[in-house]
């Protein structure tokens, strides 16, 4: 397979995630779509790691970066879900049309 195939696949996954964030009104589902966009970024990194290989091996610096991104994403999910739970306790909703205190 070529690099372009993988880049298009990851770009489409990113686009679907972006569409979800823009169109859906449920906080939890928006958050899931954010995770999808992060994973699409990972796919791009891994594809380029294989494309820009050195000495017959894939570029391992890119895969190390992906490892760090996955760790940070896991921490981010924990904090984000805790915030959603706190918000739910205060407002009894996860629908963002009902959460617009700052809206003028």
């Amino acid at each position: 397979m070529t690099l372009a195939n993988y880049l298009i696949a990851s770009g489409l996954l990113f686009a679907i995630g972006l569409l979800g964030v823009l169109v859906r009104r449920n906080l939890i589902i928006m958050f899931m779509c954010l995770e999808m966009m992060l994973s699409a970024g990972n796919l791009t990194l891994v594809a380029f790691s294989r494309f820009n290989g050195e000495a017959g091996l894939p570029n391992m610096h890119a895969q190390t970066l992906v490892f760090f991104i996955i760790t940070v994403a896991a921490a981010e999910v924990a904090v984000g879900l805790a915030i959603i739970v706190a918000l739910f306790r205060a407002r009894q909703t996860v629908h963002i049309n009902d959460i617009q205190v700052l809206k003028g």
Binding site: L7, L12, C33, R50, F51, G56, Q63, A78, L81, R89
Partner: protein, 194 residues
């Protein structure tokens, strides 16, 4: 075979991704996301990033998605009522996404060598380079070198070596980050919001 597998995995990944956006039931969305991550892990393994593929399944499918489903059940999120579709949001979202995809396709076409098949992994050459890096005197019990000379690709060992030799400081920072986020989550869920 490789082509067929790529298209099957991509279809699973993108189809399940669309399922996340289109499903009204949050639990179904979460399960679709799980399937999407499985397809993505398959693509990682096709790119011979075995370690990343396994980590993707363990961390995302194993830990993150369980957390999501747990929270959905804890909050008892109901299926969304059929509400009037917000035409402005959907229209502008679709416009942005189509614009992004068009931009992406035009950029990807310009990458030099992007339309060539990805190079095969050359273990013999890698073994030579590794030997030369040690001045032809390899370390004792160098498993990476032995595997490379046998024609295998020790992905996990090489990632581990890179992590613990060149990214030592960063991995400690990640440890601090995980500690901070764990403490933050405990504080957030204990504090009483008024």
């Amino acid at each position: 075979m490789e082509h067929l597998l790529f298209y099957i995995l991509t279809t699973i990944m993108l189809g399940a991704g669309l399922g996340v956006v289109l499903n009204r039931n949050p639990v179904a969305s979460a399960l679709c996301l799980l399937l999407s991550f499985m397809g993505l892990a398959g693509l990682f393994i096709q790119l011979s990033a075995f370690f990343i593929g396994i980590i993707q399944i363990l961390v995302y499918a194993g830990a993150v998605m369980v957390l999501f489903i747990f929270i959905i059940m804890l909050l008892d999120v109901k299926e969304e009522k059929k509400s009037k579709i917000n035409l402005v949001a959907v229209g502008s979202g679709l416009f942005l996404v189509l614009f992004f995809v068009g931009q992406l396709i035009s950029v990807v076409g310009q990458i030099e060598g992007g339309d060539q098949p990805l190079a095969e992994i050359d273990t013999a050459k890698a073994a030579e380079v590794r030997l030369a890096a040690f001045d032809q005197q390899p370390l004792e019990n160098d498993r990476i070198l032995e595997n490379l000379q046998e024609g295998q690709f020790p992905d996990v060992q090489i990632v581990g070596e890179t992590l613990f030799t060149q990214y030592n400081f960063q991995i400690q920072m990640i440890a601090v980050l995980l500690l901070v986020s764990a403490i933050g989550v405990v504080l957030l869920s204990k504090k009483r919001l008024t």
